[in-house]
């Protein structure tokens, strides 16, 4: 999987991918919550995907940063799903999606605080034990800090170190956060433990205000994000790279061109063969 380029399996483009028409990823990523416990036509799509491609999974609802108790029933079901589908890498967001006993279905920012670090570290360790596999945690995009007592990079690094977990480096999120909070993206990446990066995400975003970008996964990747990606991979060993696209699937040629552009950059810096390049 190292140096391979994947794409998120979304229902709108599932046939396009599975029939190898316009889109030719090396592997696929599922959000397990969107497929677990499902039968019928979508189960058949998933089965075909698993048969044809290596699979990674990117969780949405573990809510690692939540004040709530972990949902052990859900985690047990998740383990079954990951095992059944021979998932190579499992990642989750460094955020919370549940509070006051209610799921929120989006990623809220955890306060950058020492007690939150300790809380999240303990939870990641418990989840890794239960899942019997390492967890790669993603640096999420955020639009405001909340009651921070340390910097974002300190927060992320202390958690990765404390939990002894892997890192999913979302290059677009670094770009978005650097823009929104006015820091240097390369400095941020340089300060990360790059030897712990198991996986990279790339995506598009939308600038909604002069000083604010929202991480939408609905637009093409912009050049400065490609540049940051190229700079990043030159610093590290090969890992799988995923193109995230959640909306706007009309132009599959354009999505394929993004896959090819990521591949071309990888080829420049990593010694990797792509079967479907």
């Amino acid at each position: 999987m190292e140096g391979k380029v994947g794409l998120g399996l979304r229902r709108d483009i599932a046939e396009e991918i599975l029939e190898s028409r316009t889109l030719t990823p090396d592997f696929l990523e599922f959000a397990p919550e969107n497929w677990m416990g499902m039968g019928g036509a979508w189960k058949r799509v998933m089965d075909r995907a698993v048969e044809k491609f290596p699979i990674t999974c990117h969780g949405l609802s573990l809510s690692l940063g939540s004040p709530e108790e972990l949902d052990w029933k859900f985690i047990r079901e998740l383990k079954g799903f990951l095992d059944e589908n021979q998932v190579k890498i499992f990642s989750e967001h460094l955020s919370y999606t549940k509070s006051n006993n209610a799921h929120l279905y989006d990623l809220l920012p955890i306060p950058f605080r020492k007690d939150a670090v300790d809380h999240v570290v303990e939870r990641i360790r418990k989840v890794q034990d239960m899942l019997e596999r390492p967890l790669a945690i993603e640096n999420v995009s955020y639009y405001t800090p909340v009651a921070a007592e340390m910097s974002e990079i300190e927060f992320v690094n202390q958690i990765v170190e404390g939990a002894d977990c892997q890192l999913l480096l979302d290059v677009n999120n670094v770009y978005v956060n650097a823009f929104n909070h006015q820091y240097d993206a390369q400095e941020y990446i340089s300060a990360l433990p790059l030897d712990r990066v198991a996986y990279i995400h790339m995506a598009g975003h939308e600038q909604v205000e002069p000083d604010l970008i929202i991480d939408t996964h609905g637009q093409p990747i912009i050049d400065p994000v490609y540049e940051l990606f190229e700079w990043t991979i030159a610093q590290m060993d090969p890992v799988p790279v995923l193109l995230e696209r959640d909306y706007n699937f009309e132009d599959t040629d354009q999505i394929q061109s993004e896959l090819l552009q990521i591949r071309a950059l990888i080829k420049k810096h990593w010694r990797v063969e792509h079967e479907s390049a």
Binding site: P67, A102, P111, Y143, V146, V208
Partner: protein
């Protein structure tokens, strides 16, 4: 728990703001940014429910519909980690709150249930199919039913009439929703009470029709003769065409 009470409260306050949209004061935030979280969370929930309940949305109109979504999300405490199952919790919440009664929308529970059941039948885990052969006798052979179906009982015929008409037609209605084996698409069929009884009895008893058709005659208050046979044959042949009956469980002396 490693979290300080203060950190926990801050996180809960942000979560509550995202659910209710009510103004809040949080320490250490960038002015003008926090509302994006409310917008993103709200859009995720509203888009999911809009997509799940297009008929209810159209029947109520955008403003009334939005009140239902807003009420549910503010106080309903969504429990599922899988957002596609949220419509089921939405239905349950409004049925328990008697929202339909309160808003004088007597058909509301039925409409939400029916729209949810279309999703449920489309996505429910695969059920084991029986072995079957295509040729057989409707009266002498055990029938092989498509196991991927549900029957729902409704008070208003929202599945066959526009809600403006259905709301004045209180009664006992039944709908059979089933998943087509090849495509996975969901179809539905309106059933009379008698046909619902016949169908469920045949499935439960798992015996050839001839063994229990006398029971159906007694319930229908008719003679067990040609008329009943014709009606049963028509009903069951229709179910075969619709792939709700797949075929026959095994060969008997039908020649």
């Amino acid at each position: 728990m490693n979290l300080r009470e203060e950190t926990k409260e801050i996180q809960e306050l942000l979560g509550e703001y995202c659910r209710t949209g009510e103004e809040l004061e949080l320490p250490g935030i960038t002015p003008g940014r926090i509302q994006h979280y409310r917008r993103l969370v709200w859009n995720a929930v509203k888009d999911t429910l809009d997509t799940a309940f297009p008929i209810t949305l159209a029947a109520l109109g955008e403003d009334s519909w939005e009140l239902l979504v807003s009420d549910f999300f503010a106080t309903g405490l969504p429990q599922t980690p899988q957002v596609w199952k949220l419509p089921f919790e939405f239905y349950h919440y409004h049925a328990n709150q008697e929202t339909g009664k309160r808003l004088q929308l007597n058909y509301l529970d039925d409409l939400l249930l029916f729209e949810w059941m279309e999703i449920e039948v489309h996505t429910m885990p695969d059920r084991p199919f029986p072995d079957y052969v295509e040729k057989g006798n409707l009266f002498l052979d055990k029938l092989a039913f498509n196991p991927e179906h549900e029957i729902v009982q409704l008070e208003y015929p929202i599945h066959t009439h526009p809600v403006s008409q259905a709301s004045g037609m209180k009664g006992d209605y039944f709908a059979l929703l089933y998943r087509l084996p090849e495509s996975g698409n969901v179809k539905f069929l309106a059933l009379s009470a008698l046909n619902t009884y016949i169908l469920t009895r045949l499935m439960e008893a798992n015996v050839p029709l001839n063994e229990i058709k006398g029971e159906f005659a007694r319930i229908a208050g008719i003679e067990s003769g040609r008329y009943l046979d014709d009606a049963l044959e028509k009903f069951l042949s229709d179910l075969m065409e619709r792939k709700l009956i797949l075929g026959f469980q095994g060969q008997t002396a039908t020649t």
